[in-house]
Structure formats: structure tokens, C-alpha cells
Symmetry: C2
DNA sequence: TTGCGTGCAAACTTTTTGCATAAAG
DNA sequence: CTTTATGCAAAAAGTTTGCACGCAA
């Protein structure tokens, strides 16, 4: 897994900042914002500027290492490491508490094939998100 | 259909601007940005301000008449009228030309039920988008 | 007459860019 | 030494807000 990333980074210069960003992305179970990454790195006494995080993220997206995730009503972008298909998954987002709960596997793969056959569109990716009320918030509402 | 919208607007004051915004949303086959709406209304010699469009859109979203759609790499929000379930659909977005091509029906509804049963999450909505290369762009590439 | 809807300008938030400098190869 | 990566500050882009005024009810 890690080697795959290293492969994609081949040709680029070594950069502690980039390593830090990748590390944070790898260790977070849900998508993070540029601001999140920036704050986390600063807390570890490593200096970094916001624009550097933006530039690193842009590069990682272009290299296919990271991808953008959008949220229900937030105006800022979130990002996550692209996992291999085995662990690739989606989220249920609670409209009350905004928590993002991962859905096991990806239920969209088969759909994708069917639609590709039907339409001739060469599908390379997808986005799938569910919105609703999580169990916690539903419980609170009843009280 | 139209009556449904009128019903949701009950209690609000009449507003030409709101009517114009709804009209544009109804007549566009793909999601539009606030800026798009603003420009279109201005072209018809009707004066409106950007913030008014934002406020109208916000209201329409809260009333469940319109919903937000997110895009691949655009930082601005797009909106579309919520159609009844019969015509509710999703988009394939071409990563080359950015065109949004509607997918017939909504293939996610059954998935939603299965996941709701499995997880106890009370699902109220979803987002589903496919990315890839449209036939046009694929043809150009081969040349 | 009451108060919702609107325009305008200013504020705010997120993201991008220019430029000089530091660091990698 | 050459070129990429970075920091800082300013600019841009998108969205929100405050306030005064007009218009629907």
C-alpha cells in the first residue's frame, strides 16, 4: 500500500511537509479539511503554511493519491487518501451532528458496471453519500 | 408538480425575484450556480442582487424545493429543483469537458433500503455521482 | 401600518497566486 | 548550480451579514 504511494511520488523531491500531510491523511478515519491538516501539523511543533498544505493537497490529488470529498452543507472541501478497492468505502453523514459514519465496502461497484454498459460512458470513479439521522441523534430526539 | 411548490411557498409573500429563480431552476436540465441564476435574471432586464439570489436559494433549500449538488473540482455550489421520485436522477460528470449527463432514474433507492436495514441509520437523502470520460471526449482522444 | 423581501456595501471564509528565499538533488 | 518546495502577504472567489428602504399584505 505505502509502496504504491511512494511509487507515485517518484521524481518529486523529498519533503517533510508532504510526508506530514500524507501521514495525517493515512491516520484519519474520516475525510479532513486543509485547515484540519494545517492545525494538526502545527501542533506537532512543525511549522507549515496554509498555502503549502493547499499546494501539497493539489499535487496529491493530481497524482491520484488523494481525492476530494464533498459535504452536505459545508463550503470547504475535505480530502481523504484513496484506499485500494478492498477498503474503499463511503459515508453516511448525519444531518444533525454532521458525523461521518463509514459504510462497509462499496455497494456502487456493480451499479457502475451496469451503467457503463448501458451508456458507453467510461467510468473512472464515483461519489456516493447517504444523509440522514444517526442512531445517537434519533435517540436524543425521542427524549 | 407546480402546485406542490406553490404549496410549500404558502405563507410567504409574493416575490418576482423568487419566481424568476424558480423558473430558471425549472428550465435548466443540469444544476446551476448562484452566479448562473444571477446572470440569467440580469439578462432579462430584471434587476436583482447576488445576495438576494443567495437568500432565495437558502429559503428554497430549507423548504425542500431545491437541493445542493456538489461538483468534482469546483468550489462553488450548484443547485437544482427537487423533482418527484419519478424523475429524480443523478449525473455522470465528464472529467475532461465537465459536462453533466443525467442518468435515467435513480439506481440508489434499493441500495438505500438495504443499508438502512443493516445499520439503523434513518436515511433521508443521498448523493450519487459518476466520474469518467464521456463518449465525445473519448472519441477526441483516439484521434 | 407591519414586517418580509431587497439592494448595496462591507465583512468573512476558503482558496489561489506572486515573489523572494530555503533546501534538495 | 539548478530547480522544486516553502512562507508570507496579498488577491481572488464564493458566501454571509447589517442596515436602510420599498413593497406586499
Amino acid at each position: 500500500m505505502k509502496d504504491k504511494i511512494a511509487e507515485k511520488l517518484k521524481g518529486l523531491r523529498a519533503s517533510k511537509n508532504r510526508d506530514d500531510v500524507i501521514c495525517i491523511l493515512q491516520n484519519s478515519s474520516t475525510p479532513v479539511s486543509v485547515e484540519d491538516i494545517y492545525e494538526k501539523i502545527k501542533k506537532t511543533n512543525n511549522k507549515i503554511s496554509l498555502s503549502t498544505v493547499y499546494r501539497i493537497i493539489e499535487k496529491l490529488v493530481n497524482l491520484g493519491i488523494v481525492h476530494k470529498v464533498t459535504t452536505l452543507d459545508d463550503n470547504k472541501a475535505l480530502y481523504e487518501i484513496i484506499k485500494d478497492s478492498h477498503t474503499h468505502h463511503h459515508y453516511m453523514i448525519c444531518v444533525k451532528c454532521k458525523k461521518m459514519i463509514p459504510i462497509d465496502d462499496c455497494p456502487v461497484k456493480e451499479l457502475e458496471k451496469i451503467i457503463a454498459d448501458k451508456t458507453g460512458f467510461n467510468i473512472t470513479g464515483h461519489k456516493f453519500e447517504l444523509y440522514g439521522e444517526c442512531e445517537n441523534c434519533a435517540r436524543k430526539d425521542k427524549k
